[in-house]
Protein backbone atom coordinates (compact mmCIF):
# COMPACT_ATOMS: atom_id res chain seq x y z
CA UNK A 1 0.00 0.00 0.00
CA UNK A 2 1.20 3.50 -0.83
CA UNK A 3 3.03 4.99 2.22
CA UNK A 4 1.35 8.37 1.78
CA UNK A 5 -2.05 6.70 1.82
CA UNK A 6 -1.13 4.72 4.95
CA UNK A 7 0.02 7.89 6.71
CA UNK A 8 -3.10 9.79 5.71
CA UNK A 9 -5.34 6.94 6.90
CA UNK A 10 -3.49 6.81 10.21
CA UNK A 11 -3.79 10.58 10.70
CA UNK A 12 -7.51 10.54 9.98
CA UNK A 13 -8.02 7.66 12.41
CA UNK A 14 -5.93 9.36 15.11
CA UNK A 15 -7.75 12.70 15.03
CA UNK A 16 -11.20 11.20 14.55
CA UNK A 17 -10.58 9.10 17.67
CA UNK A 18 -9.12 12.11 19.51
CA UNK A 19 -12.16 14.24 18.70
CA UNK A 20 -14.82 11.59 19.36
CA UNK A 21 -13.46 9.27 22.05
CA UNK A 22 -10.08 10.24 23.49
CA UNK A 23 -9.83 7.12 25.67
CA UNK A 24 -9.91 5.08 22.46
CA UNK A 25 -6.39 6.35 21.65
CA UNK A 26 -5.02 3.75 24.10
CA UNK A 27 -4.66 1.07 21.46
CA UNK A 28 -2.43 3.34 19.37
CA UNK A 29 0.27 3.42 22.04
CA UNK A 30 2.39 0.77 23.78
CA UNK A 31 4.63 0.64 26.88
CA UNK A 32 7.59 2.05 24.96
CA UNK A 33 5.62 4.93 23.48
CA UNK A 34 6.60 8.51 24.31
CA UNK A 35 4.59 11.69 24.12
CA UNK A 36 6.06 15.16 24.55
CA UNK A 37 3.09 17.50 24.91
CA UNK A 38 3.96 21.21 24.93
CA UNK A 39 7.30 20.31 26.51
CA UNK A 40 5.95 17.81 29.06
CA UNK A 41 7.43 14.30 28.64
CA UNK A 42 5.24 11.25 29.20
CA UNK A 43 5.88 7.54 28.59
CA UNK A 44 3.66 4.50 28.24
CA UNK A 45 0.13 4.04 26.96
CA UNK A 46 -1.54 4.50 30.35
CA UNK A 47 0.20 7.78 31.23
CA UNK A 48 -0.24 9.12 27.71
CA UNK A 49 -3.97 8.46 27.63
CA UNK A 50 -4.32 9.85 31.17
CA UNK A 51 -2.72 13.08 29.95
CA UNK A 52 -4.87 13.31 26.83
CA UNK A 53 -8.15 12.53 28.59
CA UNK A 54 -7.41 15.06 31.34
CA UNK A 55 -6.80 18.00 28.99
CA UNK A 56 -8.92 20.97 30.10
CA UNK A 57 -11.66 20.68 27.49
CA UNK A 58 -14.47 18.23 26.84
CA UNK A 59 -14.84 18.74 23.13
CA UNK A 60 -12.46 19.67 20.39
CA UNK A 61 -12.15 19.49 16.63
CA UNK A 62 -8.90 19.08 14.74
CA UNK A 63 -8.69 20.38 11.16
CA UNK A 64 -5.69 18.98 9.33
CA UNK A 65 -3.88 21.32 6.92
CA UNK A 66 -0.77 19.33 5.93
CA UNK A 67 0.43 15.72 6.28
CA UNK A 68 4.03 14.81 5.36
CA UNK A 69 5.45 11.32 5.79
CA UNK A 70 8.80 9.61 5.29
CA UNK A 71 10.02 6.07 6.02
CA UNK A 72 12.19 6.18 9.13
CA UNK A 73 14.19 3.00 8.62
CA UNK A 74 13.52 -0.30 10.45
CA UNK A 75 9.98 -0.46 9.08
CA UNK A 76 8.75 2.69 10.74
CA UNK A 77 7.08 5.74 9.33
CA UNK A 78 7.45 9.35 10.37
CA UNK A 79 4.43 11.56 9.96
CA UNK A 80 4.41 15.34 10.38
CA UNK A 81 1.04 17.05 10.69
CA UNK A 82 0.01 20.69 10.95
CA UNK A 83 -3.48 22.04 11.42
CA UNK A 84 -5.82 23.86 13.74
CA UNK A 85 -7.63 22.87 16.89
CA UNK A 86 -11.04 24.36 17.58
CA UNK A 87 -12.19 24.27 21.19
CA UNK A 88 -15.81 24.72 22.16
CA UNK A 89 -16.46 28.31 23.20
CA UNK A 90 -13.17 29.66 21.82
CA UNK A 91 -13.44 32.28 19.12
CA UNK A 92 -10.16 31.52 17.40
CA UNK A 93 -8.73 28.15 16.50
CA UNK A 94 -5.31 27.18 17.88
CA UNK A 95 -2.64 26.22 15.38
CA UNK A 96 -0.62 23.09 16.07
CA UNK A 97 2.05 20.81 14.61
CA UNK A 98 2.53 17.22 15.60
CA UNK A 99 5.02 14.60 14.56
CA UNK A 100 4.59 10.93 15.18
CA UNK A 101 6.51 7.80 14.35
CA UNK A 102 4.54 4.62 14.05
CA UNK A 103 5.32 1.00 13.33
CA UNK A 104 2.98 -1.44 11.68
CA UNK A 105 3.18 -4.78 13.47
Amino acid sequence: MDPDAVAKAFVEHYYTTFDANRAGLANLYQDGSMLTFEGQKIQGSQSIVAKLTSLPFQQCQHSITTVDCQPSGAGGMLVFVSGTLQLAGEQHALKFSQRTEFFIS
Binding site: G32, M34, T36, G39, K41, T66, D68, Q70, P71, S72, G73, A74, G75, G76, L78, F80, S82, K95, S97, R99, E101, F103
Partner: protein
Protein backbone atom coordinates in the same frame (compact mmCIF):
# COMPACT_ATOMS: atom_id res chain seq x y z
CA UNK B 1 20.08 9.46 29.46
CA UNK B 2 17.22 11.84 28.91
CA UNK B 3 19.47 14.86 29.37
CA UNK B 4 21.91 13.41 26.87
CA UNK B 5 19.17 13.12 24.24
CA UNK B 6 18.09 16.69 24.94
CA UNK B 7 21.61 18.08 24.77
CA UNK B 8 22.46 16.20 21.56
CA UNK B 9 19.22 17.43 20.02
CA UNK B 10 19.89 21.01 21.03
CA UNK B 11 23.53 20.92 19.90
CA UNK B 12 22.46 19.54 16.56
CA UNK B 13 19.78 22.20 16.09
CA UNK B 14 22.26 24.99 16.90
CA UNK B 15 24.74 23.55 14.39
CA UNK B 16 22.13 22.97 11.66
CA UNK B 17 20.72 26.49 11.70
CA UNK B 18 24.14 28.08 12.10
CA UNK B 19 25.21 26.37 8.88
CA UNK B 20 21.91 27.22 7.18
CA UNK B 21 22.22 30.91 8.05
CA UNK B 22 25.94 31.24 7.29
CA UNK B 23 27.12 28.60 4.79
CA UNK B 24 24.26 26.64 3.26
CA UNK B 25 26.49 24.61 0.94
CA UNK B 26 28.34 23.21 3.97
CA UNK B 27 25.14 21.49 5.06
CA UNK B 28 26.14 18.61 2.76
CA UNK B 29 28.08 17.25 5.76
CA UNK B 30 24.79 16.64 7.57
CA UNK B 31 23.19 14.36 4.96
CA UNK B 32 23.95 11.03 3.29
CA UNK B 33 22.66 9.24 0.17
CA UNK B 34 19.74 7.75 2.14
CA UNK B 35 18.67 11.12 3.55
CA UNK B 36 15.20 12.44 2.73
CA UNK B 37 13.94 16.02 2.83
CA UNK B 38 10.32 17.03 2.43
CA UNK B 39 10.36 20.80 2.00
CA UNK B 40 6.89 22.39 1.94
CA UNK B 41 5.53 19.18 0.47
CA UNK B 42 8.29 18.67 -2.13
CA UNK B 43 10.14 15.36 -1.65
CA UNK B 44 13.88 15.09 -2.23
CA UNK B 45 16.41 12.36 -1.59
CA UNK B 46 20.21 12.26 -1.36
CA UNK B 47 22.85 14.86 -0.54
CA UNK B 48 23.06 16.44 -3.98
CA UNK B 49 19.35 17.03 -4.51
CA UNK B 50 18.86 18.24 -0.95
CA UNK B 51 21.75 20.72 -1.04
CA UNK B 52 20.70 21.91 -4.50
CA UNK B 53 17.23 22.65 -3.13
CA UNK B 54 18.51 24.46 -0.05
CA UNK B 55 21.10 26.55 -1.86
CA UNK B 56 18.58 27.53 -4.56
CA UNK B 57 15.94 28.89 -2.19
CA UNK B 58 14.96 32.38 -3.36
CA UNK B 59 16.98 34.35 -0.82
CA UNK B 60 20.70 34.89 -0.19
CA UNK B 61 20.47 35.61 3.50
CA UNK B 62 18.21 34.41 6.28
CA UNK B 63 18.14 34.10 10.04
CA UNK B 64 16.41 31.34 11.98
CA UNK B 65 15.25 32.12 15.52
CA UNK B 66 14.44 28.93 17.42
CA UNK B 67 11.52 28.97 19.88
CA UNK B 68 11.19 25.31 20.95
CA UNK B 69 13.29 22.13 20.63
CA UNK B 70 11.81 18.76 21.69
CA UNK B 71 13.84 15.54 21.43
CA UNK B 72 12.97 11.89 21.92
CA UNK B 73 15.04 8.73 21.49
CA UNK B 74 14.06 6.81 18.35
CA UNK B 75 14.40 3.50 20.14
CA UNK B 76 14.44 1.14 17.18
CA UNK B 77 17.18 2.85 15.18
CA UNK B 78 19.24 4.19 18.09
CA UNK B 79 18.68 7.64 16.71
CA UNK B 80 17.04 10.79 17.95
CA UNK B 81 13.93 12.56 16.72
CA UNK B 82 13.99 16.34 17.10
CA UNK B 83 11.04 18.68 16.67
CA UNK B 84 11.73 22.39 16.22
CA UNK B 85 9.52 25.44 15.98
CA UNK B 86 10.66 28.98 15.37
CA UNK B 87 10.70 31.87 12.96
CA UNK B 88 12.64 32.68 9.81
CA UNK B 89 13.63 36.27 9.09
CA UNK B 90 14.34 37.20 5.48
CA UNK B 91 16.01 40.53 4.58
CA UNK B 92 13.55 43.14 3.42
CA UNK B 93 10.55 41.29 4.87
CA UNK B 94 8.60 43.11 7.59
CA UNK B 95 7.37 39.99 9.34
CA UNK B 96 9.26 36.78 10.10
CA UNK B 97 7.80 33.51 8.81
CA UNK B 98 6.78 30.90 11.38
CA UNK B 99 8.01 27.37 10.74
CA UNK B 100 8.12 23.86 12.19
CA UNK B 101 10.73 21.29 11.31
CA UNK B 102 11.28 17.68 12.25
CA UNK B 103 14.57 15.76 12.08
CA UNK B 104 15.33 12.09 12.57
CA UNK B 105 19.04 11.82 13.38
CA UNK B 106 20.64 8.45 12.71
CA UNK B 107 23.94 7.32 14.26
CA UNK B 108 27.05 6.94 12.08
CA UNK B 109 29.76 4.31 12.71
CA UNK B 110 32.05 7.13 13.88
CA UNK B 111 29.67 8.01 16.70
CA UNK B 112 28.16 11.10 15.08
CA UNK B 113 24.70 11.60 13.68
CA UNK B 114 23.46 12.42 10.21
CA UNK B 115 20.04 13.65 9.14
CA UNK B 116 18.09 10.66 7.83
CA UNK B 117 14.69 12.38 7.76
CA UNK B 118 14.02 16.12 7.48
CA UNK B 119 10.55 17.64 7.11
CA UNK B 120 10.02 21.41 6.91
CA UNK B 121 6.75 23.33 6.93
CA UNK B 122 5.91 27.00 7.16
CA UNK B 123 3.08 27.69 9.58
CA UNK B 124 0.56 30.17 8.24
Amino acid sequence: MEEQIDSVGKAFVDHYYHLFDNDRAAMSSLYQPTSMLTFEGQKLQGVEDIITKLTQLPFDQCRHVISTVDSQPASVTGGIVVFVSGSLQLPGENHPLQFSQMFHLSPTPQGNFFVLNDIFRLNY
